[in-house]
């Protein structure tokens, strides 16, 4: 129980008096959230009393082995799953259904409707949520399409694009909505290693430029260290908070460095050593984890 409180206090350095124009720094509050999902035979607990806070312009990473409920947690923030216990608030408002103020970038390539061109895909959420009229939507879509370097492919259909390009379109589509928070569910996991690194680099560049707030789910320790500025470690099955770690000092250039390696090893130990943890935590076979870069 006290681990919950630690995680909670550690991320909130008291509502800053220096917060711009009196906006509270904390954007997303996840408080004691337990999530369950049903199979025909049983109800499975995915996460247990997880708490954390995401501040404005954070690149907050949820990291854990498969089965720790990190994707389920992200879907709960998106509003697809209702918590069985606890609360999720975005800017003080409790989340109870999906909405266009939280845009999700999925891992699967079929997240782009195949029947729309790249440009129409980026305009789609803007029009579907009635955020903008057609002309403004197209203008904004072109703007973000240029940001991800795909202006030449505006009229192409998604099935003609490579995996990396589809991921770029999905990111442009999410950014064009200018959501309060961008939710990414292992967005680069289906890409090859080189493309993945390139995408991480571009994501960080985009963040530098736009300064969006990001909640990022991954099972790769290296990706977490590179992409995030703060990492929440979740224990395997059911997901409970293991630690919160700062990673703002790392980027793609620190990959081989000694302190980067030390951090990676520390995270690895926190995730998989049962030294201090409760004894009943189940074994996770090492082969199930993808820590290779």
């Amino acid at each position: 129980m006290n681990a919950v409180l630690q995680g909670h206090t550690a991320s909130a350095p008291s509502p800053a008096p220096g917060g711009q124009q009196g906006i509270p720094e904390t954007l997303l509050t996840v408080e004691n959230v337990s999530l369950e999902y049903r199979t025909p035979e049983r109800v499975v607990r995915a996460t247990h009393e997880v708490s954390f806070e995401v501040d404005r312009t954070d690149r907050f990473v949820l990291l854990g082995p498969s089965g720790c409920g990190k994707s389920t947690l992200l879907k709960a923030v998106a509003g697809f799953i209702k918590p069985t216990q606890g609360q999720i608030r975005l800017g003080g408002v409790t989340i109870d259904e999906p909405g266009p103020d939280r845009i999700v970038v999925f891992q699967e390539f079929d997240q782009l409707p195949a029947w729309k061109t790249v440009l129409e895909n980026i305009m789609f959420p803007l029009l579907a949520s009635r955020t903008l009229k057609r002309r403004e939507a197209e203008e904004r879509a072109r703007h973000y399409l240029e940001k991800v370097g795909l202006s030449a492919f505006a009229q192409a259909y998604p099935h003609t694009l490579s995996g990396g390009m589809k991921a770029r379109v999905a990111i442009a589509r999410a950014l064009a909505m200018q959501p309060k928070i961008l939710l990414m569910d292992e967005p680069f996991a289906a890409l090859d290693a080189l493309t993945r690194r390139k995408m991480q680099e571009e994501l960080l560049e985009l963040w530098d430029e736009v300064r969006f707030t990001l909640l990022f789910v991954t099972h790769s320790i290296e990706e977490a260290l590179v992409v995030g500025n703060r990492i929440l470690l979740l224990s395997p099955h059911p997901g409970r908070v293991r630690a919160e770690i700062n990673s703002h000092q790392y980027n793609l250039h620190s990959l081989g460095g000694a302190d980067f390696q030390a951090s990676a090893q520390r995270i690895h130990r926190l995730l998989f050593d049962e030294g201090q943890g409760p004894a009943e935590a189940p074994e996770v076979p090492f082969e199930r984890l993808r820590i290779a870069y």
Binding site: K75, A78, F80, P98, G99, P100, R102, I103, V104, F106, E108, D110, Q111, P113, A114, W115, F124, P125, A128, S129, R130, Y157, P158, H159, T160
Partner: protein, 288 residues
């Protein structure tokens, strides 16, 4: 000595610009013509016509089997006098009415089925009950309820289109991936807008298959129904034309009527459905 591969010399090759052969070659004209589906299908049709004509000449009995040329003559005469075209028009108007009503009902039923559990149960029970029931078997009942006329025909047509299309559409809706559903809900789409913007386009391959099957069922049912009870107030369709000419032993006109049924089927399939497929699901890469 332990087993290990022999160590071989390394080497590098300085590559000159590639000039030995052309990088891309044109396909020959004959091959390009043969690639056109309509050319191949046309050849098949010609071969069939030839076999037909030869069989008719060999059989040598106009009453039983008129040849291709004779049928073509009767067909052209029918078109020229306007008789055949008139019959086709009568049949098609009835057909389209029934087809459209069937489509509307099918979409209503499947939309209900994707939104509520009860709707799902309703759809699966109804399709299980009525899909195996031949539409033509309902015609006597339909005549009793709606009398001799267009309405009884429309009733059996709706029955023949509705279940096949609803079954296909619903299967298509179920096949839409979880990611696309979540993406749609993420943008605030729900209810009818969700069905219209996400489910229908994503399930279009299945829906189109259902529309094709529905069209064929409806066409069949209509001709059969017109054969059973033909005309109301002297206005019969294509089935009636076939039936009447058989009674008067104009076998070539019977064949011309059948040819009209086939031709309309081919036209709808190749022009309407294929064009629609090319502009939608093929262009979107959802179907090869």
């Amino acid at each position: 000595m332990s087993l290990s591969p022999p160590l071989r010399e390394e080497y590098e090759v300085q590559l000159q610009p590639f000039t030995q052969a052309e990088l891309a070659r044109d396909i020959s004209l004959a091959q390009r013509i043969w690639q056109q589906a309509w050319v191949r299908k046309g050849v098949i049709l010609l071969a069939l016509a030839l076999v037909w004509e030869l069989a008719a000449r060999w059989q040598n009995n106009d009453l039983l089997l008129p040849g291709f040329l004779q049928t073509a003559q009767a067909f052209i005469d029918g078109i020229a006098t306007g008789e055949l075209l008139g019959k086709v028009w009568i049949s098609l108007t009835v057909l389209v009415k029934g087809y459209v009503i069937g489509i509307v009902l099918a979409f209503g039923l499947t939309t209900l089925a994707v939104s509520t559990q009860l709707g799902r149960d309703l759809l699966s029970t109804l399709t299980a009950m009525f899909n195996p029931l031949p539409a033509i078997a309902l015609l006597p009942l339909s005549l009793l309820w709606f009398g001799l006329g267009e309405n009884s025909l429309i009733f059996v047509l709706v029955h023949s289109v509705l279940w096949a299309l609803a079954l296909n559409t619903y299967a298509g809706f179920l096949g839409v991936s979880e990611t696309q559903r979540m993406a749609g809900r993420n943008y605030g789409l729900r209810g009818l807008r969700f069905v219209w913007y996400i489910l229908i386009p994503a399930a279009l391959p299945s829906i189109l298959a259902g529309l094709k099957i529905g069209w064929a069922f409806a066409w069949r049912t209509l001709i059969a129904a017109e054969l059973v009870f033909g005309a109301s107030s002297g206005k019969g369709g294509l089935g009636w034309y076939i039936f009447q000419n058989r009674n008067e032993l104009y076998t070539d006109k019977v064949f011309a009527g059948l040819a009209a049924v086939i031709l309309i089927g081919l036209l709808v399939e190749n022009l309407l459905f294929n064009t629609f497929e090319r502009l939608t699901i093929k262009r979107w890469g959802m179907q090869r």
